[in-house]
């Protein structure tokens, strides 16, 4: 009989406990809902500054990337709280849509990826590539920060799909994602082009000269990072420089080959680096060039190549 009593007590306890919990839940749920949006209130107001009342909404999402959905009760609009695994850590951000199908806000809540690489998903260039797009536009990932930016773009796609489904917008794939975009180049220190102290091993070596019209085009090899560090099988960097000697102007610089560290030295391949030399006058011997931040040696090798071309023309 004792055993039975025990089980009866257990059963009774379970039933009473369950009942009280269901009751308590019913009572407290409204409070919890209200408190829940409180956590995100600040972010929600950043995206919709004229609104104060946001209501959490239900949603179905198979991707698992949408964490919460809020509706702007005052002025209309939706904010998705999204989360996806980035490179080092989870990336959490808020994405705001207005009622016309435009993305009006993108705010990072949590981002701890590598500065200069994954962290670019929080920076101006990427943000401006997101805000202003419509719900049927694809967003480009950032080359060189693939894991982090793909995580964000995948989450944005999930939000867009949900938004389109909710608003009845057809996405016929016209706004397909453009090619990955290289992040803007960050420049580092300035380096004078004319220097006396370039060691022989680092000086540029001219391997080809072509004269055309009034211009001379030199193809120059210069030791880059790999050669200086004496890596196995290291090759120099190759640069093509076109000069207008009569006017003492560098017409154009083309970085043909960079054999330095992938992802670091090859940043000098970015068009913005060579662009600074377009129509640059070298009449003034103190003329300076910008090196690429974190890729100083490779940048210097290009500048050494330019120097060799200029010296050859004296």
């Amino acid at each position: 009989m004792k055993n039975m009593k025990g089980f009866v007590v257990l059963l009774a306890t379970v039933l009473v406990a369950g009942g009280v919990l269901l009751f308590a839940d019913a009572q407290l749920r409204p409070l919890i809902e209200a408190a829940g949006s409180g956590e995100y209130q600040e972010i929600l107001e950043k995206i919709f500054p004229d609104s104060k009342n946001f209501e959490e909404e239900e949603f179905t999402d198979e991707t698992g990337l949408i964490q919460k959905l809020f509706e702007d009760e005052d002025n209309g609009g939706f904010v998705y709280i999204l989360e996806n695994q980035g490179f080092a850590d989870k990336i959490t951000f808020a994405l705001g849509f207005d009622l016309e199908g435009n993305i009006v806000g993108y705010e990072i809540i949590n981002l701890h990826d590598t500065p200069g690489y994954g962290s670019t998903v929080g920076e101006e260039a990427f943000v401006s590539s997101v805000v202003g797009k419509t719900s049927v536009d694809g967003i480009a990932t950032i080359s060189g920060a693939t894991v982090s930016s793909k995580a964000v773009v995948d989450a944005i796609d999930a939000a867009r799909a949900n938004y389109n489904a909710m608003m009845g917008i057809e996405d016929n794939g016209e706004g397909a994602a453009p090619e990955p975009v290289a992040p803007p180049l960050e420049f580092g220190a300035k380096l004078p082009i004319f220097r006396e102290d370039v060691s022989e091993s680092r000086q540029g070596v001219i391997i080809d000269t072509v004269e055309e019209g009034g211009n001379v085009t030199y193809t120059v090899e210069a030791a880059g990072y790999a050669v200086i560090e004496q890596y196995d099988g290291a090759k120099p960097n190759v640069v093509k420089i076109t000069l207008d000697p009569a006017n003492q102007v560098i017409v154009k610089v083309e970085v043909l080959e960079v054999n330095d560290t992938k992802g670091i030295g090859d940043k000098v391949l970015h068009e913005d680096f060579a662009k600074q030399f377009e129509n640059l006058s070298y009449a003034d011997p103190s003329v300076e060039a910008d090196t690429v931040s974190m890729a100083t040696v490779s940048s210097t090798s290009v500048i050494n190549a330019i120097l060799a071309a200029l010296n050859a023309n004296k």
């Binding site: 379970v14 406990a17 369950g18 919990l21 269901l22 308590a24 839940d25 695994q85």
Partner: protein, 200 residues
């Protein structure tokens, strides 16, 4: 099912619930006086974890438990414990006599409930985070969770049993005798295991 060994090892060592995620330490600090008992308790704990995690997974996916989830999980753990206890009684009756007061308390093991709660909210894949295989097939996460995590718990029990044995004869500063020095050990274990992150 390639790479299953490193994944299992990863679950047992790196994502070890008791050792790195800090659940169930209270029980590890108290249970089992001698080797034989510790092994029995450890295996029982592992079995309870395995059984309850599978039951919990199905319960969670079949019903929307909502507010009652804790009640249901606790009941499932109690059932699993009862099952394991009767198993121990059949297989090793003498051992059973010695541990029968302690085994029921396995129902109160935080690690076991933690596993149930996590698989409830994040699905069976959560223990795979940080290891290989993001394109895992259906069976793999379940296998890893129901086998790997319990093995990790067993490992933790044995480890702590050995440590407590050593600590009881070591020269500990008076103020740290007992739980504090064990916690220092636990901290060192966490640091040591976190070093394995990324190696497997």
């Amino acid at each position: 099912m390639e790479n299953i060994l490193p994944i299992l090892l990863g679950t047992i060592l790196i994502n070890n619930l008791a050792l790195t995620k800090l659940v169930g330490l209270g029980q590890l600090a108290h249970f089992g006086e001698e080797e034989g008992e510790i092994l029995c308790i450890g295996v029982s704990a592992a079995l309870v974890m395995a059984i309850s995690s599978i039951l919990g997974y199905f319960a969670g996916s079949l019903f929307d438990l909502g507010v009652l989830n804790l009640l249901v999980y606790v009941l499932l753990i109690l059932v699993s414990t009862a099952l394991v206890m009767s198993g121990v009684k059949k297989v090793k009756p003498e051992m059973y006599e010695r541990v029968k007061k302690v085994l029921p308390l396995l129902s109160a093991n935080s690690a076991i409930l933690y596993l149930l709660l996590m698989t409830g909210t994040e699905g069976m894949e959560f223990l795979l985070q940080g290891t290989v295989a993001n394109d895992a097939q259906e069976l793999l996460p379940v296998l890893v969770t129901a086998v790997g995590a319990p093995m990790g718990l067993l490992f933790a029990f044995i480890l702590y049993g050995a440590v407590r044995e050593r600590l009881s004869v070591a020269h500990t500063p008076k103020a740290f005798k007992g739980l504090p020095i064990l916690l220092v050990y636990a901290a060192l274990a966490v640091l040591a295991l976190s070093g394995l992150n990324g190696i497997l």
